[in-house]
């Protein structure tokens, strides 16, 4: 008797939670289906076609799996894929590490926080054309300021930076870090505000120094923020596009060609929309595995647990 009542009460509560949950996400979810999921599915359909979209829906040609088969012998695609992975592996950790340090400093240890924070955020909002021109001039191989300094320091063969096949990707990563830093700093700063002051007070009493506080209080308290930051950073760095388009156009050769830039060229310069859609799905799968592996494992775990529980 008593237990059925309890169960009924529980299921009522659960139903209530369900309704509340769906009400809360409802608005976002509907818009999300219309403006994200639907286009995504559409792009999925397009990946099996050849289509010049100026000629209307009736002229869509089905090509089956051709677009997916083609990419494995597309050397330029494979190079771009490799470049994207290397770029992300360099850029993401560096940008997060620097952002952590700078954010902690900008949070507490400087005068004129507002102005300094703005300065770090500026690269993110400056005109890309200005950014690209200034970087190209600064890193000019022959007589740019950077190489002039290097030469005066005794470096004999200073790198060709954006203009050399071996250094162009690294140079793009430097620009990437420089541009991304302000963005990451803001996220860390927001995270820092959630750390209770009492934790630091307690550590003061224990006589902890700055580094210890950073390692044993700040970083663990930021775990949720850092998780978010890492994922978003990987997602974004896998999709790096504008700096490449404006500064190197993927060159010299294919040395700085990244996936989204390659996809963009295919879709909008060579009118291979179907092939570009197929490439996008590969990128999607890649990021999915790369960034969400932890979440997928978590999710699988929770499903298993639930199934085990009902037994």
């Amino acid at each position: 008797m008593n237990s059925t009542k309890l169960r009924r009460g529980k299921s009522l509560a659960r139903r209530r939670e369900n309704i509340a949950g769906w009400l809360f996400i409802g608005l976002n979810f509907l818009g999300y289906i219309a403006f994200k999921l639907a286009p995504l599915v559409f792009a999925g359909v397009l990946s099996f076609t050849k289509w010049n979209f100026t000629s209307g829906m009736k002229n869509i040609k089905w090509v089956g799996l051709k677009n997916y088969m083609d990419m494995f012998k597309d050397e330029a695609f494979l190079t771009s894929l490799m470049n994207t992975i290397v770029y992300s592996l360099i850029m993401v950790p560096v940008a997060i590490f620097l952002a952590l340090i700078f954010a902690v400093i900008l949070d507490k240890y400087v005068y004129g926080k507002g102005v300094l924070r703005l300065a770090f955020y500026l690269p993110y909002i400056s005109s890309m054309i200005a950014v690209s021109l200034v970087w190209m001039i600064l890193f000019l191989p022959t007589n740019g300021p950077v190489n002039q300094i290097l030469t005066s320091l005794g470096v004999e063969n200073p790198p060709r930076w954006f203009n050399g096949s071996s250094t162009s990707l690294l140079s793009m990563a430097i620009v990437g870090v420089w541009q991304r830093l302000g963005y990451n700093i803001i996220i860390v700063l927001a995270g820092l505000q959630g750390i209770s002051a009492s934790l630091y007070e307690a550590s003061d009493i224990d006589g902890a120094n700055v580094v210890q506080k950073f390692l044993y209080i700040t970083i663990p308290s930021l775990s949720s923020t850092l998780f978010f930051l890492t994922m978003i950073s990987f997602i974004n760095s896998f999709q790096v596009f504008t700096p490449v388009k404006v500064i190197t156009q993927g060159g010299p050769g294919y040395s700085s060609s990244v996936l989204v830039y390659y996809i963009y060229q295919k879709a909008f310069q060579y009118s291979e929309l179907g092939y570009a859609s197929a490439l996008s799905w590969v990128l999607f799968a890649l990021v999915f595995v790369f960034s969400f592996s932890r979440m997928i494992v978590d999710y699988m775990g929770s499903v298993k647990q639930r199934k085990g529980g009902t037994k």
């Binding site: 769906w22 300065a119 005109s127 959630g194 990128l283």
Partner: protein
């Protein structure tokens, strides 16, 4: 006292160091300003001339007093960005609360789907969206720019991560006091996450404000153009007019500065934690 002065000295030293770093960050920005005051034929002098030899207001004159309606672009950008931001903050906050604090069936699966779509390149959604907007009849309206940015997985994800840091016990005790989800959301969660909201507002505002590709594809008329698209109207045939472009870009940064300076104030230690202690 002595401790205080030592601390102040260290702080001053760190400030100087950070200022030096920040100079590296603002170099392109300085170039932008400097170029906007130069005649077209002096913009590319090498080595870079930071202070224009013959400063001119001609570029700004071109931006504001030509037949290109820059003020209309400006107003369009404000309208699109503000509505996008407002919409996104509201829908994302509600959804994030559900994902973080309500245990409903399908929660994890939906959240995973949400996140996964972040991985799809936005450029490849242009044409599908274009087709869908034509069907919905909102092609060539500002809604085509506002609607997609109102419902984002990014905003939901960002806010959820911050909501997660608020201990569930806080919500539980409120529940015992008879509070429903909505009042927990409004009275407890939101005030504690102002910093996260500020970050989202800054990102989304800049994202909408600087977006070039979506207006390029979804907007056809000059009078509906936002600033990044509108700057194309300063092009000379087949060539870029850098002076006017930089002058326009400089003007376009003012609202971003404003938004940044207003909302970065939220990143002050203590606001969030003050609420938590109670």
């Amino acid at each position: 006292m002595k401790m205080g002065t030592r601390k102040a000295l260290v702080k001053a030293f760190v400030t100087v160091l950070m200022t030096m770093f920040s100079i590296v960050m603002i170099v392109p920005f300085l170039w932008m300003i400097s170029a906007s005051f130069k005649p077209e034929n002096q913009i590319f002098t090498f080595p870079i001339q930071w202070i224009p030899e013959t400063p001119t207001l001609q570029n700004y004159n071109m931006v504001f007093n030509s037949d290109v309606p820059f003020m209309t672009f400006f107003w369009n950008s404000i309208k699109v960005s503000v509505l996008s931001v407002a919409g996104e903050v509201i829908t994302s906050a509600l959804a994030a609360y559900a994902f973080s604090k309500i245990k409903f069936t399908g929660r994890n699966l939906i959240f995973l789907i949400y996140l996964s779509t972040l991985a799809f390149p936005i450029q490849m959604m242009l044409i599908p969206r274009f087709v869908i907007f034509r069907l919905l009849g909102i092609y060539n309206t500002h809604m085509a720019l506002i609607l997609p940015s109102m419902f984002t997985a990014f905003g939901t994800f960002l806010l959820k991560q911050f909501f997660d840091t608020i201990p569930d016990e806080l919500c539980e005790s409120a529940k015992i006091d008879g509070a429903g989800h909505f009042s927990i959301f409004l009275r407890i969660i939101c005030p504690l996450c102002m910093a996260a909201f500020s970050a989202l507002i800054i990102f989304q505002f800049v994202g909408s404000w600087n977006d070039y590709e979506q207006p390029l594809v979804f907007i056809r008329e000059k009078r509906l153009a936002t600033i990044p698209l509108g700057l194309d109207y300063f092009k000379t045939e087949n060539a870029t007019n850098y002076g006017a472009l930089m002058a326009g870009s400089c003007c376009s940064l003012i609202p971003i500065f404003t938004v940044f300076l207003i909302f970065q104030k939220q990143f002050v230690a203590g606001i969030a934690t003050a609420g938590m202690k109670e």
